[in-house]
């Protein structure tokens, strides 16, 4: 029965309704500002929680043995161009949707006290962001996908620009213009596809065989857009700036979900539509990914700003994702998607932890921290779990993703595997140094300030994240089963 409902549209546009509802909360009565602000927060939280609950219904009704897309909704939009409003999910998009609906409430809770001004605008921005992200993961029409893909820039620009740090304007502009330049080239590719095929419906496009020459250019156009989003070296320079200046919740959503849009785009469009060009460009992707992994790991080691450190480590981890995707075999693809989900959990958790530290000491300089193990024991335990997840210790979700990617890429190119594998060591070096400095550092200025351990709200933020990081470390099949059908379809294209 439930499959007859337009459940994907409901999930996608429910946050939008919440945002409109918040818009209606009037702030004419200046006396009750406190009351008003808490109303706004509660409405935003409930909206995002409701979205999460409905997305759980999606999970319960999803059948991972079925080939193709489920919960499909289709209706004409601009018929003369062959553009349809086409939503549907498969085993690849489902985990991302759940990750999004899971992280947004966490973001809202995390900014409960840290956002003091313009709370109304902040919550509206976040709910808009959720709508656009969910719409992007659900859409199966190139044009609809592009619209959501690029619309994400608007709320993110505002979030960085208004609530960011001291250099926020530069970071917001860089983020916006960089990603816009990447995606407009994809726009031309999409227009070309529309012109040649006469439809932007994904199910029509996958049956259409482009000539190699055409695939070559189209793949490049899409690559620009996705490479900036992933971000792949050398297009990653916007990421450290955006991460450092964004507010905590902005960094969480940026690292947790926005970085996955690029990888998702590769899986959904680049590989199925341009298989020959993908194969042709495999060496290029492998080499820039290897450079990304080694180079950014070294750069991360040199950072004193902890947010920048995690930002560069994200680039290295996303390098694993692109290697996995372009190894074109089951282990590689499974590992890449798993790595994206696990990185979504781990890096979000790390940014939340940095937010907690920043609220207490108002600095992000790694040398200013120390001795947290005695001052904030509960916090240090959580930080330990997240750090080890990032290092890819067996038993955490980070391990599963990286080992699968390495196993997959071994089949494609052993040299790349060895180069990429070096990141396991390099990652351990900078992450363990990070943890050592913070938890066991020497006496320093932090010692003179009285810091409180995490409160109940923060505890509840970290608990589910660390639970899932460990759970998926021990039972990776909880997610991996969903990838089987879509991945075997992609692999089928390459054999």
């Amino acid at each position: 029965m439930i499959s007859n409902w337009p459940i994907l549209s409901i999930i996608s546009f429910l946050p939008l309704c919440g945002a409109l509802f918040i818009l209606l909360i009037s702030n004419r009565d200046t006396k009750e500002v406190q009351n008003l602000n808490s109303n706004i927060k509660v409405v935003a939280l409930w909206t995002s929680l409701m979205t999460f609950i409905i997305s759980l219904i999606l999970l319960l009704n999803f059948d991972y043995n079925v080939d193709g897309f489920q919960f499909v909704e289709k209706s004409d939009w601009i018929p003369e161009f062959g553009i349809v409003y086409f939503l549907g999910i498969d085993g690849i998009s489902l985990p991302f949707i759940l990750l999004t609906t899971f992280l947004i409430p966490i973001c809202i809770i995390s900014s409960w006290n840290s956002i003091q001004q313009r709370i109304k605008e902040f919550m509206i921005c976040f709910l808009f962001l959720e709508t656009f992200i969910l719409g992007m993961f659900c859409s199966l029409d190139l044009v609809v996908f592009y619209i959501f893909f690029e619309a994400v820039l608007i709320p993110m620009f505002i979030i960085i620009g208004i609530w960011g740090g001291s250099n926020r304007i530069y970071a917001a502009f860089k983020f916006f213009l960089y990603t816009l330049l990447g995606s407009v080239l994809m726009l031309i590719g999409i227009v070309y596809i529309l012109k040649t095929v006469g439809s932007s419906d994904l199910s029509v496009l996958t049956d259409f065989n482009f000539k190699f020459q055409v695939q070559f250019w189209l793949f490049l156009a899409f690559l620009f857009s996705f490479a900036v989003k992933v971000p792949m070296w050398p297009f990653h320079t916007w990421l450290p700036d955006a991460h450092v200046e964004a507010p905590t919740s902005g960094s969480v959503i940026l690292a947790g979900i926005l970085l996955k849009m690029g990888g998702y785009g590769f899986l959904r469009f680049s590989l199925p539509l341009f298989p020959e060009a993908s194969l042709y460009f495999q060496p290029l992707i492998f080499s820039i990914s290897c450079i990304a992994i080694i180079y950014t790991s070294l750069v991360a080691f040199a950072q004193t700003d902890i947010k920048k450190l995690i930002a560069y480590s994200s680039v290295a981890h996303m390098g694993f994702v692109t290697i996995g995707i372009f190894s074109f075999n089951k282990q590689g693809l499974d590992g890449a998607i798993f790595q994206m989900i696990s990185h979504g959990l781990i890096s979000s958790a790390l940014f939340l932890a940095i937010g907690v530290m920043y609220e207490r000491l108002h600095t992000r300089d790694i040398n200013m921290f120390g001795n947290f193990a005695t001052k904030m024991p509960k916090f240090s335990v959580f930080l330990m779990i997240f750090t080890l997840g990032s290092v890819a210790l067996p038993g955490t979700s980070g391990f599963v993703g990286e080992i699968l990617v390495l196993a997959g890429v071994w089949k494609a190119s052993p040299i790349v595997m060895i180069l990429a594998g070096s990141s396991l060591v390099l990652g351990a070096i900078y992450m363990l140094r990070f943890y050592k400095k913070i938890a066991f550092g020497d006496f320093n200025s932090a010692n003179s300030i009285d810091v409180k351990d995490i409160n109940f709200r923060e505890f509840m933020l970290f608990l589910p994240l660390s639970f899932f990081i460990i759970l998926y470390g021990f039972f990776p099949n909880l997610i991996l089963t969903y990838f089987h059908q879509p991945n075997s379809f992609i692999i089928g294209l390459f054999n």
Binding site: E121, Y146, E150, I162, L181, Y192
Partner: protein, 484 residues
């Protein structure tokens, strides 16, 4: 494609010819009546009354345009009316309608509290309507003069303001020069093609005729001046800045729509046969406009100067649609005009509703802190800016989308790439406005003075900008029905 029908079938002589021109005749009589009324009848509240009267006149004219059943040639083939002309005339009348209602209660603060304002606007409208339906280069020239002369006066309407006078004079001198170009081009075409009438211009054995090419270059230059396409854009920033805001809106919208209509008719109908003489010229205009518009606007600190450069960039995109010489290019341009018109109306409705020390706001820095003081206004301006930058799902994106579709369809990939790159560059200064409103400290001297009409215009254009994806099938249907 009613244009392809032979002229004998559609030639309307005698009384029928007059019936074709009913809207223009009505408008002209109404203008004469308005002058009389201004002198003898509207004693108190002169501006408001004449404003109300002109709004009513525009409304009736629009109805007459829409429901006039007579199509075809009239007045010895000097005029031609079909669905396309009607569509464009409605667009022109729509923009005039919004200009009039937005000015109604704003004449004093803008320093244009003279009832002649309405008379001049209506006169110019009359010229635009005739230009849009002209079927002869002579009619075209006269109509464009009728359209331009009242606007020169309107620019200088703030008599005591130095910049206003300067802008009027500048516009007049350069406008007269461009009219000279136009006339010179027309005379050359007359000499080498044998006629000024669109039906009789003979292009059969003159494909390599230097004189005709010269004529075409002059003709295009004259029109390019009217749409302020670079390198004929020099007047635009100064005139935009100096003129009172309602006049700036007028200059930015209606005459440009008219000139684009004329350009469409000339390229798609009259000189289509020899389009290889045109298209390089248009491509140059289009690329230079995008470059000048995108880069010139970055350093501007005056709102209206910035809008002038942004309009140059938008004209570049519109020309991009024309360059494709295809049906989809034509409909893309028409859609772009609708979208751009509503964006302009929205932006100007916001500019008009703010004042600082009883003067209209001018500098970009006056928008500082708008988001704190007037959140509704600033969120609307934010949406308009993102839309102008072409970010989905707002209307500007769809305008650009259809233009790019037409360009790629023709195989002009490099043009499309240039277009998107300059659209990213121009996004920078739209973001700059958002930055000033949202990311910077506040300026408390700016006060809100939003009349009901301004509110209406703002929310209407906001609805169209945000929910364009719902209106698209409707607009598309309208455009396909009235395609040239």
């Amino acid at each position: 494609m009613s244009r392809n029908l032979t002229k004998d079938n559609y030639n309307l002589d005698g009384i029928d010819g007059f019936l074709v021109g009913i809207p223009e005749f009505f408008l002209f009589c109404a203008i004469l009546l308005l002058i009389t009324l201004n002198i003898y009848y509207f004693k108190s509240k002169q501006f408001k009354n004449s404003s109300k009267f002109s709004i009513f006149v525009i409304f009736i004219t629009a109805i007459l345009v829409l429901f006039n059943p007579y199509h075809g040639f009239a007045f010895n083939d000097l005029v031609f009316i079909d669905q396309f002309n009607k569509f464009m005339k409605c667009l022109i009348l729509l923009s005039i309608f919004f200009i009039l209602i937005m000015t109604k209660n704003k004449s004093e603060i803008e320093g244009i509290n003279y009832p002649e304002f309405n008379v001049l606007v209506l006169l110019s409208t009359c010229g635009m309507m005739i230009a849009a339906s002209s079927n002869s280069l002579m009619t075209l020239y006269l109509a464009i003069e009728l359209q331009s002369l009242p606007i020169y006066v309107l620019c200088a309407l703030r008599k005591n303001n130095l910049k206003s006078s300067e802008s009027g004079l500048k516009y007049f001198v350069l406008g007269a020069l461009s009219s000279g170009f136009l006339l010179f081009g027309i005379s050359l075409i007359y000499g080498f093609a044998g006629s000024v009438n669109y039906n009789d211009i003979n292009l059969n054995d003159i494909s390599s005729n230097l004189g005709l090419n010269f004529g075409l270059v002059f003709l295009i230059s004259g029109i390019a001046f009217k749409i302020s396409a670079a390198p004929f854009h020099m007047w635009a920033p100064d005139v935009y800045e100096g003129s009172p805001s309602p006049i700036t809106l007028l200059i930015a919208s209606a005459p440009k729509i008219t000139a684009i209509t004329v350009l469409m008719i000339l390229t798609f109908k009259v000189f289509k046969k020899i389009n290889y003489h045109w298209d390089d010229l248009l491509i140059v205009l289009c690329i230079t406009s995008m470059i000048v518009g995108s880069i010139g606007a970055i350093i501007q600190s005056n709102i209206k100067r910035l809008l002038a450069y942004s309009s140059i960039a938008h004209i570049g995109f519109i020309l991009l649609g024309l360059v494709s010489f295809s049906k989809s290019g034509l409909s893309a341009v028409m859609l772009y005009l609708i979208i751009y018109l509503f964006l302009l109306i929205g932006v100007f409705s916001i500019i008009l509703s703010l004042k600082k020390e009883d003067q209209p706001i001018e500098a970009l820095s006056d928008l500082k802190g708008l988001s704190v003081n007037f959140p509704h206004l600033s969120i609307s301006l934010l949406i308009f800016m993102f839309s102008m930058a072409g970010i989905p799902p707002l209307s500007g994106f769809f305008g650009k989308w259809f233009v790019f579709f037409a360009v790629v369809e023709k195989g002009f990939y490099s043009l499309a790439v240039i277009g998107v790159i300059f659209s990213v560059i121009s996004a920078f200064y739209y973001l700059k406005i958002i930055k000033i409103m949202y990311f910077e400290g506040s300026e408390d001297q700016v006060v809100l003075d939003q009349t009901l009409e301004l509110k209406f215009s703002m929310y209407l254009s906001l609805i169209i900008t945000c929910f364009i994806f719902l209106f698209l099938p409707f607009f598309q249907g309208l455009i396909t029905k009235s395609l040239l």
